[in-house]
Amino acid sequence: MSKIVFLVPLFPLLGFLINGLGRKSLQKQATAVIGSGVIFCSFLLSCYLFSLVPAGDGVVKLFDFIKVDGFSIPFSFQVDQLSVLFLLIITGIGFLIHLYSAAYMKEETADHYARYFAYLNLFVFSMLLLVMGSNYVIMFIGWEGVGLCSYLLIGYWFKNANYNYAAKKAFIMNRIGDLGFLLAVFLILFKLGTVEYNEVFAGISTLSTADITTITLLLFVGAMGKSAQIPLYTWLPDAMAGPTPVSALIHAATMVTAGIYMIARSNILYTMAPTTQTVVAIIGLATAIFAATIALKQNDIKKVLAYSTVSQLGYMFLGLGVGAYTGAVFHVMTHAFFKALLFLGAGSVIHAMHHEQDIRKMGNLKKYMPITHITFLLACLAIAGIPPFSGFFSKDEILAAAFAHSPIYYFIGVGGALMTAFYMFRLYTLTFLGNFRGTHEREHHLHESPAAMTIPLIVLAVLSVIGGFMGIPAVFAADSHWLEHYLAPIFAGSTALVTPHHLSHTQEYMMMGIVTAFIIAVILYAVNTYKKGIGEKEEAKGIGKLLENKWYVDELYDAVIVSPLHSFAGFLKNVIEKTGIDGVVNGVGKFVAYGSRQLRLVQSGQVANYLLIMILSMVIFFIIWFNDLHIMRFINKLF
């Protein structure tokens, strides 16, 4: 196993290099084949690793990355259940999205096409480093690397200044989180002298609770940035500026779940820091609700999905916060399926609509795009949590755990789920049902997407439907939760620490039933309301306007942080630097020049004046000589 582990990230890296360096000479076809092929290779390898894992030895060291007095950080990979699971998600979904992109990006010129695939490959590489790294530093490398690729891909259409702005915003907000991550790494390094997972988790008992809490909180700050949690979530909706497959891969399926992976990986730390867990749960829950409310009033197809992603990520954090690590990972997986599907579906729609993303101008697309329609619907059902679609199982697991923790979590979570169902079906209805509300010319061009795009849709749809069966709750069949068993070694430390308290089966059935009923009601209501479409000019009022403008959070950040920072920087540049420090420096020079002009007047040319000064200075000499002791005392005092 150790021999081939490094091949997994190597393939995407090769793809990146070939596509990146050869972008001038490669044909589009070749680019696509290479780009997707390398990911497929990685996928196959991942599958192979998957089969090896239960027997494998875990950590594979490649070389010493940093080795200095005091600590050493190897460049090594850790292959265990958790990472292999993520490997599969990343390479699997990654491959599908690459395939999809091959068709979606057809309109680009060859070199930009190659650039796109290069970036995408680089992203997969970084993501693989993130999940495969055996210590926090390697994870951090991937962590920053995916941020970079996200930046590059959001700003892929670099001519558009807004896209660049969005890309920059994403990178900078991520960096804020990264700082937290870095601080946590330093604290771990400081306290334990190592950043290797195994050693850190083994040495955890030597740490005080305060330390663990600090470490976990700081790590969570990193997760906030990467996984778009309050307050660092605003970049993710803006990140929709990138090509849609990118949104599917990076901003739905993989990168944004890095925070969940990280916490799941460090589960033992979090379990030992209940305070942090509470914080994680509350922030997750708040994000889930908050983003869901915004999604209710969005009219951009991708923005809705983006807020939905933020909201779903919030659920995952809720799961982590209440100790349902498996549930969270489970939700990561199912969410990867259906959210990727939704994005790809949206991409298909956008492709057909010639880059029109406003859902108010769509409608009745099911007539023109049957495959997209069906798959999209399945995904909507999955995310809404209708049994037996995958989303039901994962969300239910989280909510159940939340209920066990505190019913308030549960009820708020359910409220979010209802909102999810509402805005998803609002989106679905406005897009696929009703009448077409765009121009005729556009209607004329509507078409189903090519096979390269629909095949991934279909595959993902299948996964979205059946993916949930990986984790059938105990209430349906005892010991049928395959995922829990599979991941048990990873979370063993945590499960040992907490006493699980299960709900009674009746209670669980009841909850499931009631919630499902509510969701179905909400769906019907949404479909009914929006069948007619909504007017473009319709002026929202009150809370609606607030939601439409995303609670004015961007404006708030701008007013509270960005603008003051800029004016402060301007103040530093123009006042402190120029007139302050440089003024002092130049002032010394000016003072000398001034002194020179004044002092040369003493040189009056008059002999009598000269002699007068000489005589007076001699008198002064005598006076000094008389009082030398006093003067010495004075000088000694001075120095």
Binding site: F63, D64, F65, I66, K67, V68, D69, G70, F71, D111, V137, F140, I141, W143, E144, G145, L148, Y151, L152, G155, F158, K159, N160, A161, N164, Y165, K168, F171, I172, R175, I176, D178, L179, L182, L183, F186, L187, L189, F190, L565, H566, F568, A569, G570, L572, K573, I576, E577, I581, D582, V585, N586, G589
Partner: protein, 465 residues
């Protein structure tokens, strides 16, 4: 003998160049000399042992001509050696009037720089310290920008004051040595009292602080970088500012350890203020050269803070970061030079959209910028990681504040990237073409180094150990 070659090759060619009239010949000879020096430096680096060259010089003064190439000296010599051919190739197409003098002075500067890094004798060190400065004064004043004379003058006098104060400090220590010798070992063996250490520290630190520069002694730097011919700016910012850092590591902390520890807090706080301060100002810069200058101040601030944490790993970080920062900033200056040469402006507001016109440059700029923000797997990451780690162990809050600079670095660097290469074409970039072949070669070499030392930093770490 090998170390002596590092000085002799540039010295002889540098002096010889003044006699040559033909511009093409000048360039070729300069480039050959720089390459030869690089080869020697590489030989030196691959030689694991500490190499010493020692010959009597001023015996009555207790000064000897002692050169010592240990790890830290080697890495900086390597930086000096490598940066020269890169610079020469990068400005190969540019025609400087009186090019023989230009290249001659450049090579003489190299002698000074090498000498500073190699000298193991305080007086010799001081000599080279000044020797590195004088040619730069002429280079900037003759070939610089519009306001060159006044600006360079300010720079010169500022650093000159510093170096004279340093001389006093060195003298002071010299008279306390047991054997009245300027040798580094004798200096190190001196044990001064608390008050004396404080005095020596103050005297020498100011010199180094001005050179590096540390806030608030930095105001000469953006002006000087802006006004100097870019080839000189590259030397200044890639290599010369390292003199200050190197000097602190070699000549300040070991000699007055007590005072260094006592004042560490002040220095670190100053440095951190400087980091944030320079980063914030960089955000507001519209001139690409000034932006890089302020960014450099911020990076140097981190190094100076890390040096004083009294943490072995952080010191290692500083050493390799000196090298890496030199390489990175060199690349950025080359890009700035290309832009200014080609488009006649350095204003970010007039640029834009160069990714369409000059894709190769755009890619290289992005990579260099990433190195500038110390993204992992670029060379700068390792150094910054080690330095931040040291700072963290020194004081978590200071580190947290200093850490915001990595956010701010992202802000101004990406600002620059965005305004230069992305967006619609700017008023000045309409006529842009992509970078020419040899500049590309240079930049690719730099990028390869960035990546190589980013992925395998351990080689550098081994070197400085």
């Amino acid at each position: 003998m090998l170390v002596l070659l590092l000085l002799l090759i540039p010295l002889i060619t540098g002096l010889g160049l003044f006699a040559i009239k033909n511009e093409q010949q000048t360039k070729t000879i300069a480039l050959l000399s720089a390459t030869a020096t690089t080869v020697v430096a590489l030989l030196l680096v691959f030689n694991k042992a500490t190499i010493i060259y020692d010959t009597p010089w001023l015996q009555s003064l207790g000064a000897r001509f002692t050169l010592k190439a240990d790890g830290m000296a080697k890495i900086l010599c390597l930086l000096t050696a490598i940066s020269y051919p890169l610079i020469f190739v990068a400005v190969y197409q540019r025609s400087y009037k009186n090019s023989a003098s230009f290249y001659g002075l450049m090579l003489l500067t190299q002698v000074g720089l090498m000498g500073v890094f190699l000298a193991a004798d305080a007086l010799l060190f001081y000599f080279f310290w000044e020797l590195a400065l004088i040619p730069v004064y002429f280079l900037c004043s003759i070939w610089g920008g519009e306001k060159r004379i006044a600006i360079t003058f300010k720079f010169f006098i500022y650093t000159f004051i510093g170096s004279l104060l340093m001389l006093i400090g060195l003298l002071y220590v010299y008279f306390q040595t047991v054997d009245h010798s300027f040798a580094w070992e004798s200096f190190k063996a001196v044990s001064l009292g608390g008050k004396e250490q404080a005095a020596v520290f103050a005297l020498m630190f100011i010199a180094f602080a001005i050179k590096m520069p540390i806030f608030p002694f930095h105001t000469w730097q953006p002006d000087a970088y802006e006004q100097s011919p870019t080839a000189v700016t590259m030397v200044l910012s890639a290599v010369m500012v390292k003199m200050g850092i190197y000097a602190i590591l070699r000549w300040l902390i070991p000699i007055v350890p007590m005072a260094s520890a006592q004042h560490a807090h002040m220095v670190i706080v100053l440095s951190v203020i400087g980091m944030i301060y320079a980063s914030l100002i960089a955000i507001k810069q519209d001139d690409i050269k000034r932006l890089i200058a302020y960014s450099s101040i911020a990076h140097i601030g981190l190094m100076s803070a890390a040096m004083f944490t009294n943490n072995a790993a952080a010191t290692t970080g500083v050493m390799i970061q000196m090298f890496n920062h030199g390489i990175n900033v060199l690349g950025l200056w080359i890009i700035a030079e290309v832009i200014e040469q080609q488009l006649g402006t350095r204003k970010l507001s007039e640029l834009g959209g160069l990714a369409q016109k000059a894709p190769a440059m755009a890619i290289l700029l992005v990579i260099l910028s990433l190195a500038n923000v110390a993204l992992p797997l670029t060379n700068a990451f390792v150094g910054e990681f080690l330095m931040f780690n040291g700072l963290f162990q020194y004081n978590i809050w200071i580190m947290a504040i200093a850490g915001t600079s990595i956010i701010l670095a992202a802000v101004y660097t990406l600002n620059m990237v965005q305004k230069v290469i992305y967006g619609e074409l700017g008023s000045a970039s309409v006529n842009a073409t992509d970078i020419s072949g040899h500049v590309k070669v240079v930049l690719i070499a730099i990028v390869l180094m960035i990546l190589a030392f980013g992925v395998f930093p351990q080689h550098l770490i081994e070197l400085v150990k």
